[in-house]
Amino acid sequence: MTKYLVGKVGDIPPGGKKIVDAGSRSVGVYNVQGRYYALRNLCPHQGAALCTGVTTAFVTSSGPGDFAYECEGEIVRCPWHQWEFDVKTGQMVVDPATRTIAYEVSVEKYDVSVDDEEYIYVHIR
């Protein structure tokens, strides 16, 4: 397991995201209501940079003309064919067997930090 520094907590406010390089991989780090999640920035469908797509909600309905929203900020839609993935798990919503990798994220004080800043790390195995 290698841990990569993503940035300071203040860099990714709730609802925000940051795409970073972690070793040879591109990773999207999301802040969903104060909790951090990281996804491999690669769509399992045809290889688009998944995390460059919009972050949004899951739309549900009781019938034509009715639109409701669940899981605000927890869905990423691929910039190419618009497949929807769960930010928390990397799984495609309608077909969970189709997935991109979700990585562990931690918030820590920098090893030798003198200040009180908290830093975000993504852990890649």
Partner: protein, 380 residues
């Protein structure tokens, strides 16, 4: 511990890839530069009153960002040269495309207006713009003649005007139509195609828009997904019309290309046509061979959007049944949102089949040379 905070994915160098031919590309155009090719009358009308065209975009929600992949941002400075430069890096170089077939320039909405003279003037403007700004500046780019299909005589005139340009490789019309394409009304178009040895291509779009018939026999559909499904039915109707009205008997060298209607559905459709022909042959006795033979000899299909069967073992038998090895052409539909990545869209297949679909079938159809080099490659 490493730490990085870049915003771009690092480009990866994959294994070498052979060059390909991409048979369905929609280049945007620089509006003012196109309009400068129009006669004064129309130019002033457009400046004062607008384009005067019904559009599919206003009726159906074509996905993503105005129909384009969200990560594509063509330059907005209004210059054809900037659009071309972007296209060269973001598509041609990136996927090692040796020949890029533009499926017409401008909006197929041109073919939905009742004013055929205006449609003809717009087609001329787009064709000239394409020749001067794209074809002249990159030999990889080939294009299709935009025609005012509302008036087949004017369409034939336009084909005669630009059809012998060496980088013009086919004639294009939208799927949405006033009559199925086998109708004799369209013969002047086919005569011109044959004169210039150009395939006649039908590209999905504009079904039920403007002067075109409703997108299904059951009437207008509501959501974009229904509209996409309807396009297949419409293409089926055109294909049967071409075969049973006897177009290929009358024009034995004519090639018909079906673009962006999907592909695997064609297999059972061919079986059905053959079966029904056995029973009903005497009603259309000019149709001399089983419909599948006309398809095999005269019809080409582009791949995108591919239907992938959930059971992968069904893929190759269906490919075989639609004559994929000789009749299927790879298409990406760049820059549209339902783009197919040349390296990722197809299941594995043997090299011979891959080579036919990604290069040779198109080279033969469009009269293009063999690969520059079999070893030159790009990365995924």
């Amino acid at each position: 511990m490493e730490s990085v905070a870049a915003t771009q994915e690092t480009p990866r160098r994959g294994r070498k890839r052979l060059s390909i031919i991409d048979c369905d590309i929609h280049m945007p155009t620089a509006r003012d530069e196109v309009l400068s090719y129009l006669p004064r009358h129309y130019r002033e009308q457009i400046d004062t009153f607008g384009m005067r065209l019904p559009t599919q975009g206003a009726m159906y929600l074509n996905g993503a960002k105005g129909g384009i992949m969200q990560d594509q941002s063509f330059p907005q400075d209004g210059k054809a040269s900037s659009l071309l430069a972007y296209f060269q890096t973001e598509h041609l170089d990136k996927y090692n495309i040796e020949h890029a077939i533009l499926t017409g320039l401008g909006d197929y909405a041109i073919q939905t207006t009742p004013d055929a003279d205006y449609a003809a003037a717009l087609c001329t403007a787009y064709n000239n713009y394409g020749i001067d700004h794209y074809l002249a500046n990159d030999p990889r780019i080939k294009s299709s003649v935009m025609i005012p299909k509302q008036d087949p005589l004017l369409a034939a005139k336009e084909i005669d005007r630009v059809g012998s340009h060496p980088q013009i490789v086919q004639v294009i019309s939208s799927n949405g139509a006033e009559k199925p394409y086998g109708h004799r009304f369209y013969y002047p178009i086919y005569e011109a195609c044959v004169r210039h040895n150009l395939p006649f291509a039908v590209h999905v779009s504009m079904e039920g828009i403007g002067i075109n018939n409703p997108p299904t026999g059951a009437g207008h559909v509501n959501h974009y997904i229904e509209y996409r499904m309807a396009r297949t039915q419409i293409m089926m109707a055109h294909l049967a019309s071409m075969i049973f009205e006897g177009v290929f008997d009358r024009f034995p060298t004519l090639q018909f290309v079906m673009i962006e209607a999907g592909m695997l559905w064609i297999a059972p459709y061919i079986w059905r046509m053959d079966q029904d022909w056995k029973a009903l042959r005497s009603q259309t006795p000019w149709v001399k061979e089983p419909p599948s033979e006309y398809v095999r000899k005269h019809v080409k299909f582009t791949s995108q959007p591919i239907e992938l069967p959930p059971d992968e073992s069904l893929f190759l038998p269906l490919m075989k049944s639609m004559f994929a090895e000789t009749n299927l052409l790879f298409a990406s539909d760049y820059p549209h949102w339902d783009f197919d990545n040349p390296f990722k869209s197809f299941p594995k297949m043997d090299d011979g089949m891959w080579d036919r679909i990604f290069y040779r079938n198109a080279a033969e159809l469009y009269g293009l040379p063999a690969r520059r080099s079999e070893t030159e490659g790009a990365s995924a």
